[in-house]
Symmetry: C2
Subunit: 695 residues, 2 copies
């Protein structure tokens, strides 16, 4: 028995030790992973700040959390991303390109197709205008608009205050930090407790004010800086408030999204589009959120650029004529059911997702495909991009379906683009508040006979009560007039009931108040009908499908996905590189005279002039720094190509990532760089066509 | 005598009648002119609103004065103007083009030059990067920044309130309206009174709060709507105020200009530019002014797009290396003296203006030239564009010189671009407030010996007082130590006075407090000098030259300058046309099948595809409307070219303003439209090369 007990204790001990060891490993692994992520982020952010991709705003005054400036290279990247977005929004051509690239990665094929398009402009059936209507509305918005949209009442975060100092915190942040901290720093947490904390983290976004309050009290969470007690959570509206005009009587807000400016213009835009559906309007502009305590650097800021599309469709027909162009794209999707059941995201084609009912409709699917092409073309890693469906309780009650394009970064999965079917909610809300109907019309090719019109357009309903005078005279003689009046005074419901009774029984009773008695009406005395009316059109409120792009978040994730380090030639330091595609790169080309020498500098200037003439942005560096140092400086800005002048007749061209070099004649080099930055040839093409230079 | 008197009376009467008649004519002329202007503006504005160039913001809610949306064509025009501005800002190539166009109007020459640039990229010495550093800063700005810039204290307008209703008015507007009204509507005003009112109008912008108040009282001006009495004028700050973060303790404003974002980043940008001057930074973005009562439609709004350049230069060297490129440009200038003496603006070359000292320096002159080229290239009428110098009392005290590019519109002369030499004011202000030095360095090729350093850098000054011990011992024996201490304790002023006395008289007196007596110091006892220090660099605060473009105002003036009407074919109505150059036109080309017929529509689609492939925005109209009606619709949008499909092999191309048509083969038409919209050929070229089509 003793031995048995001992053995049992031993086994348990071993189990406990093993479990503890296992947990410790997991913990170390987790901690290591999180330290690695942190270190990686620091390297990216340091490079970005040092090279002025961005600058904390008003830095000389100590900065303002959540506000950032874009410095020169950041500004160029943003301009490139927005120009590409507009293109994608406006023209189908880039779409074709992206699609081909994604599908074939065969540049020769793309090139030949481009040639066909450009040269005889006939064979390319993808090339069609998207015809989006771009608008540009002010940031300052009067209260009534945001009251109608629901932002004044519901655009809030829950806040708690340090009861002594008055410092404000986001309630969910404190709870999140508490749970994460416990999980990370207390390895001997009971399994039960750990599971509870993990559950809290999972449902954090969906906790009500009362639930949050209860959890904060239960865990005894205090103010992180002072350990003072906290107030109960209460809602704080995230809109920056201001006042329009001098009187102080017209409250206004800085818009939290650009979409409302499009909705209130629906009527004019529909008219501009020739009263035809579907059509899309687009807007690029600043939006604002007065965050309680911004964290996560460039990911959660108080002012940001949004690019939003509002695609208006007939709610009865959400098919998309160009759906077939994207239906074969395969991408990581994370449907609602998979999230609930704890399954991971899985690769699935858009066509399947729509046909299986995972994605609500073709138009939504079409935009998911376009978002995928847009992001991957910019340089977002396809493997770290997923489309996550909103959970039922996460989605606004009016939304038909909603998907977020999430990109994995050192902060975790980040929502960068929202693609929502908002149904007719917004147009209804503004029509109700303003009294201006925001509707569309479908003209019928042939007028249609309808008996009962839609209840929303009561003017089309017409009840006809036709007494047959001759029969009436025979039946009621002198009382005829009073009976007729009583018949004609019937309401719709009463009349239709009589009609039913007459049809079933051949007669019905009617109380004639002027006679103070009930009379019997035979079915030959009156004919009751609803007049069949010819309708020429259907009137309805369109649905809205909204892809909404957080440009700053996309750019930050792009920085992380593009960043890597590699050892310097002598191996004594790590060099930073951004592997931006030429489309995104803030500067397309560098020009370096190998040594400080007038001849080489002349050649360098000559090449610079040709580059400018071709519209290629470049950076010339005539300092005496070593060529390795100069390469490193431009690699850090993500400049894809560098021309080094080491003779007066020919030069070398170096590709940033492979560091391979080719030798090209001075006269040819600018046009060659143009072809490869415009994407009409690839670096692989050039390697085949030009002699490789080994330094 | 009687007769004499009578004659005199008659003469006087005739005079009076004649004078009255003359005044009446003037009045009628004035009124007619102003009615004509009003009618013209109405025609422009109606067209702009009807075709959605712009839309009063939040129209379905009754709108907000001073806020406008750009609809689709307005958005396209704005995007075109900003892209051109960036080009001008970044590349010298467009500059060359503008210059050549302005000077020669010879497209063949321009074309050949472009070819040279593009093909061998060597012969074109204008082609050099401008190297501006673009930044993008937030609209929300903390108070401290705008306190430093002076906006919190001084960015005000004077306001009066209706004492009963509280309605607010701009004090100067009421005075202006009163004076204008009197002058226009009271023809029998005394000459003296008229002169007084005109004087008030002339000095209106320079009246102090007290003067304005006095005038309003003197004239008995009341609230225009209610005739109630008005409050005294008081300053109202024009910035939209808000609060950053949840605590309410961080006041912020919406920026009234984009410039401050650049100034606070000076240090980083200077470093980014390799610590070299001069350099320019640029920013395009929204700015805000909470106007008291916005008038003048699109010209005075509460939110607008600014495009600002801050060019940082050494205050001791404001020459500009590219000045010669603009020095021969002749434009209407309106110097201070001419305004004061009542002379009109006169044509003068920029070179002369600078050499005669009318314009303060070359850099200012260079930017005046570039602004001229930018505006005229967009389509602003050169004859209705002038550069007006600020009057002495109009200019900020720190400004070295300031010129406004003013464009004449139906509202009068409108300030659209300000070009100011703001000296070192802004950098000084932010350095003082933040404590961060915002300076530049000039490295000397050889270290320089300096005796007295600039007072702004006191650390370089070193006073050397060297007592000669031997002589001291002989002269003062036991008191030697006290005398040395007294000598060494002298301040700079005292020491330098002693030095002067010693040099002049050979001796000087010194009170030694520790001895309680005055002693005589001979000039062999002490040597007083300032150490000559070797300086390696000069430290200074750069000057700023700022061209600041009000994009919305430029675009509105462009609309007025581009608008005209012409009779329809049958003469029964006036048709509207915008004569936008292709650069600005929101849509470059229209495509019309002549009649509704499948063959023609096929050809039209084929042409559309080629246009898209070439990146030419177009509008296809396959409605059955008459061709004349379709031309009229696109003329009203300023579409420069229309392709009409009237056969399957060839089509006609119509130019908007001349209404001339040429016949071109289907295969060729897209590339031809591209060449003429890109400006590589002119319509005149095409008329020579293709058969003219007469309809």
């Amino acid at each position: 028995m003793e031995t048995g007990k001992l053995r049992a204790v031993k086994i348990i001990s071993i189990n406990v030790v093993f479990n503890l060891f296992f947990l410790l490993c997991l913990y170390l692994d987790f901690t290591q992973e999180s330290q690695k992520r942190e270190a990686f982020r620091q390297a990216v952010v340091n490079t970005l700040e040092r090279r002025l991709f961005y600058i904390p705003s008003f830095k000389i005054y100590g900065g303002v959390t959540g506000l950032y400036d874009y410095g020169p290279p950041g500004c160029a990247v943003k301009a490139n991303v927005l120009a590409f977005w507009r293109q994608v929004g406006t023209f189908r051509f880039s779409m074709l390109l992206s699609f081909l690239i994604a599908q074939t990665l065969d540049w020769d094929f793309v090139f030949s197709l481009m040639l066909i398009c450009f040269v005889d402009g006939v064979s390319c059936h993808f090339v069609l205008e998207e015809n989006m209507l771009e608008v540009d509305c002010p940031c300052v918005t009067p209260e009534i608009v945001l009251k109608a949209s629901g932002h004044v009442d519901k655009f809030t975060d829950l806040m708690v205050k340090d009861e002594k100092t008055g410092t404000c915190y986001r309630a969910d942040h404190l709870l999140k930090d508490f749970c994460k901290d416990k999980l990370e720093k207390e390895p001997n947490l009971s399994a039960e407790k750990a599971a509870e904390l993990k559950h809290v983290l999972a449902v954090l976004d969906n906790l009500s004010m009362e639930e949050l309050s209860a959890k904060i009290k239960e865990y005894g969470i205090t103010a992180p800086d002072t350990k003072n007690t906290l107030s109960d959570p209460y809602p704080f509206n995230l809109m920056f408030q201001t006042s329009i005009g001098p009187s102080g009587s017209s409250p206004g807000y800085l818009r939290p999204e650009t979409a409302q400016g499009i909705f209130v213009n629906f009527k004019d835009l529909y008219y501009y589009n020739g009263n035809k559906l579907p059509f899309a309007a687009a807007q690029i502009g600043q939006a604002f959120r007065n965050e309680i305590s911004p964290r996560q650097g460039l990911l959660r800021v108080r002012e940001f650029t949004l690019a939003e599309i509002e695609h208006f469709v007939d709610p009865e027909d959400k098919a998309h004529p160009k759906f077939s162009e994207v239906s074969k794209l395969e991408l990581f999707m994370f449907p609602r059911e998979d999230q609930v059941c704890g399954r991971p995201a899985r690769k699935i084609s858009i066509g399947e997702a729509v046909s299986q009912g995972i994605v609500n409709n073709e138009t939504l699917g079409y935009f998911i495909g376009r978002v995928f092409l847009f992001l991957t073309q910019l340089g977002i890693d396809e493997g770290r991009l997923r489309f996550r469906q909103h959970l039922a309780n996460e989605m606004a009650h009016y939304a038909a379906d909603c998907w977020d394009a999430e990109i994995e970064s050192s902060y975790g999965w980040i929502e960068c683009v929202g693609i929502a079917d908002r149904s007719a909610y917004d147009l209804h809300a503004h029509a109700d508040k303003s009294g201006v109907p925001l509707v569309a019309y479908e003209k019928f090719p042939e007028p249609r006979e309808v008996e009962v019109s839609p209840p929303s357009v009561p003017q089309f309903t017409k009840l006809v009560i036709a007494p047959v005078k001759k029969e009436l005279g025979l039946a009621f003689k002198g009382n005829q007039k009073m009976v007729v009046e009583a018949l004609e005074a019937m309401g719709e419901k009463e009349a239709m009931e009589m009609k039913t009774t007459l049809e079933a029984m051949g007669e019905a009773e009617l109380y004639v108040c002027t006679l103070h008695k009930v009379v019997t009406i035979k079915n030959n005395i009156v004919s009751i009908s609803k007049e069949k009316k010819k309708e020429h059109q259907r009137v309805f409120t369109p649905s809205v499908i909204e892809p909404s792009f957080g440009i700053g978040r996309i750019i930050y994730c792009l920085y992380e996905h593009s960043f890597y380090t590699r050892p310097s030639k002598d191996g004594d330091e790590q060099l930073n590189v951004f592997r931006f595609p030429p489309l995104v790169a803030p500067i397309k080309c560098a020009v370096f005279p190998l040594v400080q020498n007038q001849q080489y500098e002349e050649v360098a200037k000559q090449i610079s002039k040709s580059l400018t003439a071709f519209g290629i942005s470049y950076k010339i560096d005539i300092t005496g720094a070593s060529i390795g140092k100069r390469y490193a400086r431009t690699d850090e800005l993500g400049v894809p190509f560098a021309i080094t002048v080491d003779s007066t007749s020919s030069v070398t061209v170096r590709e940033r990532d492979s560091k391979q070099q080719i030798r090209v004649s001075v006269d040819e080099v600018a046009s060659l760089v143009k072809s490869v930055t415009d994407g009409v040839s690839t670096w692989a093409d050039l390697l085949r066509r030009y002699p490789i230079h080994s330094s």
